[in-house]
């Protein structure tokens, strides 16, 4: 399938939004960007770069993307870095840091960094800057993970490299540490024209429900998340069972098998035990999810839940809001940035709260529809890929004038 062009986004976000992107791009001129991360496929960062890089090029910003290379020992180390930066206790040996630096140095020797702006994504390639001390361009570290409670030993090690950057970018103030360099905020975004979010025909939605044997006879309440204790799938079942005493409905739980999640099978068994033989609870465990089917599940739902106990940004919320679904979300991680309680969805703090909101929204379809409409507008304003493009254009303009708070272009 041909990737959508910038032109195609006019239908979704409005012609004037795309026009203003092209105007901003004209002020950016012939500046260039290099994106660097650690994987070409899999994960949200690669997914985002696959779309953002061609669209920035279409806007006239020469953007290229390089993936660093490494053997299994390097990626084992960076996986442990990822977990430790999100708070997992672990002690690292000097040899581990040396191996990490060795691979960064090998990659440095293999790459060029001639672009005006170099954006290094996440910790894996963060030390590349060490060998670029005499650079004439700008380097920014884009951190996609929650750094609010990092492993102190690891953070002290990485911090010595991060401090050498011209700026850092975080997804939310909740996730950022105190740094001496400027920090910018880039919300994660969704692509409204991707298979996971584009419009679907009612026939296709019906066919997906049929394929998974989900009758369309009752309102559908859905949570789409992997089977992970932090997503609280058992709590979702409890909330559903409490609500169903008062409103007739079905529950749909959809999760896929994550390669790096050995706990998935065990949690799935707990979920099945909690569901019992209830014919109104549908538990789907996908080896590999198909984006258009996830899209169909969301569009077929009367309510979408994201009852997590701990979260990153939880873009599943924006995906559902974009489809004008009323969303019940826990007040954790990035969810409150997307849900303004009572206006663009509802926030809950407990199983009981989730249960009450299921009853409330199924009994007040007009209110639920208003939440969905407002949620769609909020996503349109803040969480679409076009906003991400705009932020990169603004960053190119702003990073060259770090001391100015208002920049007049003429």
């Amino acid at each position: 399938m041909t990737l959508p062009s910038l032109f195609d986004y006019r239908e979704v976000v409005g012609q004037n939004v795309v026009e203003e992107l092209t105007i901003l791009a004209s002020y950016v001129g012939n500046r260039s960007i290099k994106m660097v991360n650690s994987t070409a496929v899999g994960g949200g960062v690669a997914e985002m770069l696959h779309r953002v890089v061609p669209l920035l090029n279409e806007l006239g910003v020469q953007t290229n993307w390089e993936v660093i290379k490494g053997e299994a020992d390097f990626f084992d180390i960076t996986k442990s870095f990822h977990n430790a930066l999100q708070g997992k206790p672990e002690h690292f040996r000097k040899e581990t840091f040396d191996t990490y630096l060795h691979y960064n140095e090998l990659n440095y020797k293999d790459m060029t960094f001639d672009e005006d702006l170099v954006v290094i994504h996440d910790p894996q390639p963060a030390a590349l800057i060490h060998w670029n001390q005499n650079r004439g361009n700008k380097w920014v570290w884009r951190c996609h993970i929650d750094l609010s409670h990092p492993n102190e030993q690891l953070w002290q090690f990485l911090r010595s490299y991060i401090d050498q950057y011209d700026a850092a970018i975080f997804s939310s103030p909740l996730f950022s540490p105190q740094l001496a360099i400027p920090q910018y905020q880039f919300y994660p975004t969704i692509d409204p024209l991707a298979d996971k979010n584009r419009d679907l025909s009612p026939d296709y939605i019906d066919s997906v429900l049929e394929k998974y044997e989900i009758p369309a006879d009752k309102p559908l309440v859905t949570q789409i998340s992997r089977y992970d204790p932090w997503k609280d799938p058992v709590g979702v079942i409890q909330a559903f069972k409490m609500a169903r005493k008062y409103v007739d409905c079905r529950l749909l739980l959809v999760g896929d098998k994550a390669a790096d999640d050995p706990e998935g099978e065990r949690i799935l068994q707990m979920v099945k035990a909690a569901a019992g033989n209830d014919p109104d609870i549908h538990i789907i465990y996908l080896t590999k999810s198909i984006a258009s089917e996830i899209n169909a599940f969301q569009r077929a739902s009367n309510i979408v839940l994201q009852k997590s106990l701990r979260e990153g940004f939880a873009l599943t919320v924006s995906e559902a809001l974009w489809k004008r679904r009323p969303v019940i979300g826990s007040a954790v991680g990035g969810i409150p940035a997307q849900i303004i309680h009572g206006y663009t969805g509802v926030l809950v703090h407990s199983v009981e709260g989730a249960s009450l909101q299921i009853r409330s929204l199924l009994n007040q379809p007009d209110f639920a529809a208003r939440l969905g409409d407002n949620g769609h507008q909020r996503v349109k304003d803040q969480f679409l890929i076009t906003q991400n493009l705009k932020r990169y254009l603004l960053l190119l303009l702003a990073i060259e004038r770090p001391d100015e708070t208002t920049i007049f272009l003429d």
């Binding site: 409005g14 026009e19 203003e20 303004i340 206006y343 705009k390 932020r391 603004l394 208002t406």
Partner: protein, 213 residues
């Protein structure tokens, strides 16, 4: 024919500061000591975002106090600040500080409360730029209104007074000074922005102009 009106627009890039407040005293200190651009972010930028989903609060200070300190009167007072009456950030900052300090005199117990979730002080870089849209009379102005972005409407109707230091929006000023239509200008100037989303404001402006053509 009057002077040409070239539509501008503005965009913001949010910044993080790492500074936080857990109670009203700490919030007050942040408000007193932060850069003007942080005040702008938590008031004007929030107003821009919240209008579109019709949230009653129009600034981040009010939202945080209401959601985290079990306090309703103070957020109401802060929300009642009319941003359009302030053409400098320093006057807006003074007003916010005065409201919080007055509230402290009347309700000192509120200052003893500690929030579980902190207020995160943010900052912003504003980028103001010219668009390729022009108006040279009321007819072309009316036509351009349909095609400019809501960011452009917001800029000319709300934000630009911080740069012009005037007590009025760009649209009514141009219509009065360049087109010589003071009556229409007065009606535009009196539009209550708190009632409308920016798309609603576009429709209101269009309807007002249509009633004069």
């Amino acid at each position: 024919m009057g002077d040409l009106f070239q539509f501008s627009s503005s965009a913001s890039l949010g910044k993080l500061t790492g500074r936080r407040a857990y109670n009203l005293e700490e919030l007050l200190q942040l408000i007193k000591t932060c850069p003007d651009s942080s005040i702008f972010y938590h008031t004007f930028s929030t107003f821009r975002k919240m209008r579109e989903v019709q949230v009653p609060f129009n600034n981040d200070f009010a939202i945080w106090i209401s959601q985290n300190l079990a306090e309703e009167a103070l957020p109401e007072k802060l929300t009642a600040i009319e941003l359009a009456e302030h053409n400098t950030i320093s006057s807006l900052r003074e007003r916010i500080v005065a409201i919080i300090e007055n509230h402290k005199q009347e309700n000192p117990q509120v200052f003893d409360r500690t929030a579980a979730k902190p207020f995160y002080l943010c900052d912003v870089v504003r980028i103001v730029y010219l668009t390729d849209k022009f108006a040279y009379n009321l007819k072309s102005f009316r036509e351009s209104l349909n095609s400019i972005s809501v960011d452009s409407i917001y800029f000319h109707f709300i934000e630009s007074r911080l740069y012009t230091q005037l007590q009025t929006d760009d649209f009514s000023r141009w219509i009065e000074e360049s087109l010589g239509m003071p009556e229409l200008a007065a009606k535009i100037r009196n539009i209550d922005i708190h009632i409308f989303t920016l798309e609603g404001l576009r429709r209101k402006l269009t309807a007002l102009i249509d009633s004069y053509t």
